[in-house]
Each structure stands twice: as structure tokens, then as C-alpha cells.
Amino acid sequence: MESDLNKAYYKSERKTDWRDKLRKEIKSKDRANLTRVRMPEADPNIRNKSNIEVNKGLTLEMALKESHRCLDCVVPTCINGCPVGTNIPKFVKYLELGDIAGAAKVLKENNSLPAICGRVCPQEIQCEAECTYVKKMSKEGAAIGYLERFVADYDRENGESTLPTMAKPNGIKMAVVGSGPAGLTVAGELAKFGYDVTVFEALHDLGGVLKYGIPEFRLPKSIVDFEINTIKQMGVKFVTNFIVGKTATIEDLRNEGFMAFFIASGAGLPNFMNIPGENFSGIQSANEYLTRVNLMHGSNKNYDTPVHSGKNVVVVGGGNTAMDSVRTAKRLGAERAIIMYRRSQEEMPARAEEIKHAMEEGVEFINLTSPIEYFADDKGHVNKMKVQKMELGEPDASGRRRPIAIEGSNFEIDVDTVVIAVGVSPNPIIQQSMPELEITKWNTIKVDEHMMTSVEGIFAGGDIVRGGATVILAMGDGRKAAKGMHLYAQSEVMAEA
């Protein structure tokens, strides 16, 4: 969070004439009496058979009305809730003024992927949770996420999209490993500082989890490509099919003139539960299932990649990835698409919106239940699972109540597809090729306050540092790392001079 440094700046900006004038146009009391806008959504029984985006986005009229709810507070606590420090009141007030291009410019100052964040950020526990309405008035927070999405979409669709202000090219080469949210953020920031940036991506397509993980109905791929194109227009180069640590080592790239590196290779290895029968075919990780569908177009018969998605699908887990998987299964024709979670709905890490959407679409929830064994037909394909009821005990290290098995509560469910979405562990490839890189006991890479690893000039961020986290936290790391890399490069240049 960078807002502490900026308090004075926010205050002075709030006092600019146009904002003073806007505030005076409508009384705070009247603003507070407006009801929060509702996001228009596609019909659940239509959308669960197609890939259309579920949230349709606000109309201009709805967005303007919602912008009036923002009180333009003296202390903009909402900014504290944003991992990339977006100047929220400023963009919302530009919107209220009707200057959408101005609002978009404010968003882009701190965030190179606003149309993505407006869709996938958990605003309800970030900016919107810090809104004065929530904190002091027991009202629903300003719909900051919806407005962010509206402004970014409007700006994109109306061709007014402009590049951010760029420093003069300095000719210094910087390498970014991975083109997911953390990598894209660093690339964009470093390009703004004037660096010659190359992003190396292991897969054949760019975007990382934004492409292989998050489904089309939640984040259209055309939007991801648009944001990546903007970064390309800023001069960033992208190399696909290139695994740093394998295709070439960091040392090789240093010899090719790269001064500093940012490792954002993501959370690689999917976790399994190590229970009997888990390796039967038809049982797959959420990463495999979603990659086959999203990246490889496995459900489209014009593509060669097959995917197992049957009539009775159980997805094990309660996070956003589990929701993405189960909603995908429904769309691929599952008659029963079931979430199986070992705690209760209250403890589910998935966003409330995802759970609500899944329920509307006909997903069944079997909570307080956990698999203990799988069975297969004579071809080795899963056909049944044995599960066990759980009850909640005392809170564990995560602060959530620990699930405890209830003896004698076993029962069986017929299944033909199982998706395991119980988290991921960091990808081991970079560490395998660089033993000098210090790692934690969870195999994540250790970094200092500038996101620099134990090896000078090598920075890291996103899931390879955090384990499994969110898009916006990865982006926050990216912004911090870009500053760290800028400082590092400056000191290197000084030392050489």
C-alpha cells in the first residue's frame, strides 16, 4: 500500500476547483440516499449453456448514477484497500464530470490492466470494504469495481484509448519471466520508465492464468489480448515458447545484456490429496481441466485437444478456481455439477459473487464433505467416489475452523469426472536451474522489501513468491518490483559511471 506517502497529494487534489464544485452540486446526504447499482447479468439458464460473459457491465447512465454515490471523502480510505493504490475518488469524480477519458487515464496511472481488475478483483474485501459507507454508515460500498470496469471498457470500445506517458528510452535491457498479471505489470511499468523490456513466456500464448485459468465467461480473452497489445505498443517485446531456466538460463540472458530480471513464473504444481484411486483417469487437477478448455479449446471440435467433462462432475475445493471449474463443467453439459468442500459455505475462499453465480447456474453444493477414495471401471476410468462428512472444530492457523471427520458418515457418489481444486505449489523450474536462489519451506522464492531475491539483480513476485494468491496482489508485487528494479538499474549505472 503506497497511500501513506500520498496523503498530502490526495488532499491537495481533492481541493482542486472542479472537485470542490462537483462536491457542492449534490449534498452528501442526498448522495448517501442513492441505492447501489446492480450489475446486469446474463440469464442463468442461457449463460450456463454458453460462454457469454455473465456480468454484462453497467450502462453509461447506471455508471454516472453510481459515480454520484461516491462522497469524495476527506480521507479516501478506499485507496488503502487497493493493492496497486489506484486513485479511486479521482477517477470516480472524473466519471461524474462525464470525462471518461480522464477517468481512464487516472486508472492507467497505477494499473496497466484496469478492464481485467474491474472484472476479477475481489473488491468486496479490498477497496469497497474500506469505503466510508461500509466502515461508518453500514451501507453498501460504492461499486468501485463496476465503475473501474465501465471506464476501462468505455475507453477501449470508444477508441479513445491512449498510451500512458513514457520516459525517453534509456537502452537498458530488462527481462521478465512469465506473462501473467505480475509479469505484465512489471513490463508495463518498466516500459514507462524507459527500459527495453522483453517478456519470456513458457506457453504458446500470452497472459498466464488470465488465459489458461480464468474462463471466458468471467474474463473474455479479447480483453486480455487488448491489454497485452497496449503493452506491446509501449515497446515491450514478447517471446513465447521460452522457458527461462531451460531454453536459456538467467546467466545466458545476462550475457545477452539483460541487466535485471523479474521472475513471475506463477504457482505451478497442482496439489492432490494423496488418497487411494486419485490417479484413475477422469480425475484431473483444475489446472489441467481449465487449461484443456481455455488455452487448448478442448471442448471445440475444431481443436485436437480432448477434454474429459462428463455428466456427473465433482469439483473438490471451495476457491475461485473450483467455482471456475464447476461452472465450466456445467457449460460443457454436466447434468450434475457439484462443488464438494470440506468446510461450510461461510469459510469458502471463493468470492461471494462466484458462489452466487454458480448457484444460479444450477451448481450443487455438498459442503462439510471430503473425498476419501475413488473407484474405477475396468478401463481405469473413475466411476464412483467415497466421501466423508465433516464437522467444524476450533480455528486453525488460517483462522478458519478446522474440519474434523465424522466417524461412520461415509457415503458414495457416482461420478465420471472429478476436478481437484485444492491449491497449487510453486513451479520448481527456476529454482532447479538456480540453486543459489533462496527459497522458503513452502518452496516459494524469498524476496526483500524491494521484491529482490537473494541473488542481486533478480527480483520476483506473484504466486512464485506468495503461493496461490490473486491477480491484483500479483500486480501489486509487479508495481513494487518495477520500482525496485528501477532503483537497482540506477545504482548500477551510477557505479559504472
Binding site: 522457458i243 531451460k246 506463477g266 490417479n279 487449461t291 485437444t305 474429459h308 478401463k379 532447479q432
Partner: protein, 280 residues
Amino acid sequence: MFKIIDKEFLSENVAKLVIEAPYIAKSRKAGHFIILRINENGERIPLTISDADIEKGTITLIVQRVGVSSHKLCAMNIGDIILDVVGPLGKATRISKVGTVLCAGGGVGVAPLFPIVQAMKLAGNRVVIVLAARNKDLVILEDKMREYSDELIIMTDDGSKGKKGLVTQGMEEVIEREKVDEAIVIGPAVMMKFAALTTKKYNIPTLASLNTIMVDGTGMCGACRVSVGGKTEFVCVHGPEFDAHKVNFDEMLSRLNAYKDKETANYQEYLKELELVLSN
């Protein structure tokens, strides 16, 4: 963009492709593999690197026509472009001087065996090779293997070349005759299963290089998982080589068939379309 520089058929259904991939040519070691995608609609398929030329910046792949993707790949010609090639993937073979190394290759598994044979020989080992195939037309890389070995035994199912019999018979002949310090087996899963049972009888440390179904090949999806000594391992990042005596080959065989119905149906459809095109 990865250009095909050279291509020839080693047998009716096995093609050798030389592909421009300078970075991979430079960084690959024995045991490594790549993943490729022919075109925008293609699937990602893992193939072991059979050879490389650093100066020319090329890698050599050997492909057997078994399904849609391999058929399409075998139909590509010199000058054609493969859209995506990524690697080298997996851990390299640990090469050291151990004494006598018995290398057994079955079918197209002989291709990935070659760089290991080469490295083992250059490390100063006595290298004895058993090459197995159904018949004489399917024996590949014989001359190259001979060049880097002290002895080469060929086994064919029908006796049309070398000796008649299975790979395990050739292996036992060697094991009963001389002290073998290490064995490496690469081939179809069934062949590796029985080759591993054979060396286990004699307590010979044995490596098997596994070729499972993969999607990304970088540890992300877990499609390639196998049980090794009761523990789940990912072939792409923990392998592809494992202690052959600990691999659960039956589970691996079953997982290799995970998409068989769909694959067979797609292949039949593809062949039918191909016939239509040809007859027109």
C-alpha cells in the same frame, strides 16, 4: 516459428524430422524432451529429443504415426513451419562412469535412447545395447547406435532381423553373461514394465524414461502424473526418468489410455476425411 530443415521416413510409420530450434539445440542434454504444437488447432505433444546440432541450430525428433497429431506431423515437409516448439523439458539423464551400462530400446523408444547411449559411451562406460522391434523394417538408428556401443544385439518378434524373441530375452542373455552395473530402458510402457521386472530379478539399478500424456509440460497441469514408490510424481518436472523398479506401470498404462476412445474416434474421422481429399 520452427522450420523443418530435413525429413525422412525411417520406416513406414516412423519419420525423422530435423527442426530449426537454436536455443534448444544449445541447451538440450541427454534425456530432455520438447513439447510441440503443429498449428493453431493442434494439441501440445511431448517428444524426446533424439539428436541436436549446435552449429546448425537444429534438433532431431523421431515420430511414430499413431494418431491425429503424429499423422499430421509425419505429413509435414521440408520447409514447413511448426508453430510452437518449447524445451528442453524434464531433467537431464545423470551421466557418470559406472562400468557396464545395458541400454534397452523398444520400437520408437530407441530414438530417445540414442543421446543417452552416446553420453554414456563418451563418459567411458562399456555400453551394451539391445534394440527390439516387431520386424526388421521397424529397427531404427542401428548404425548410430553401433557407433556408440561396445555391442549391439537386435531382437525382432518375427526373427526377420537379429535374433527372434523379446527385448527381455536379449537383456537376460547379457545379464547372465557379464556384470551389468546399470540398465536404462525406453520403449512402450508394456516393454518397460517387463524389462524392469527382468533387471529387478538381478538387482540391477534401472532407469526408465516415461512418455506420458502432457499438456503444458512445465509442471502446471499434472496430466503426466505417475506413482513411483507409492508417491505421485510429475513426469515433466520430476522426470522423465525414474527408478524403473518403483514405477507403477499398470497405472501408467491405464492413464495413457485415458483419452483412447476420443483419440481413436478422432483418428478414424481424420483418416476418412484424408481419404476423401485424396480420392477427389
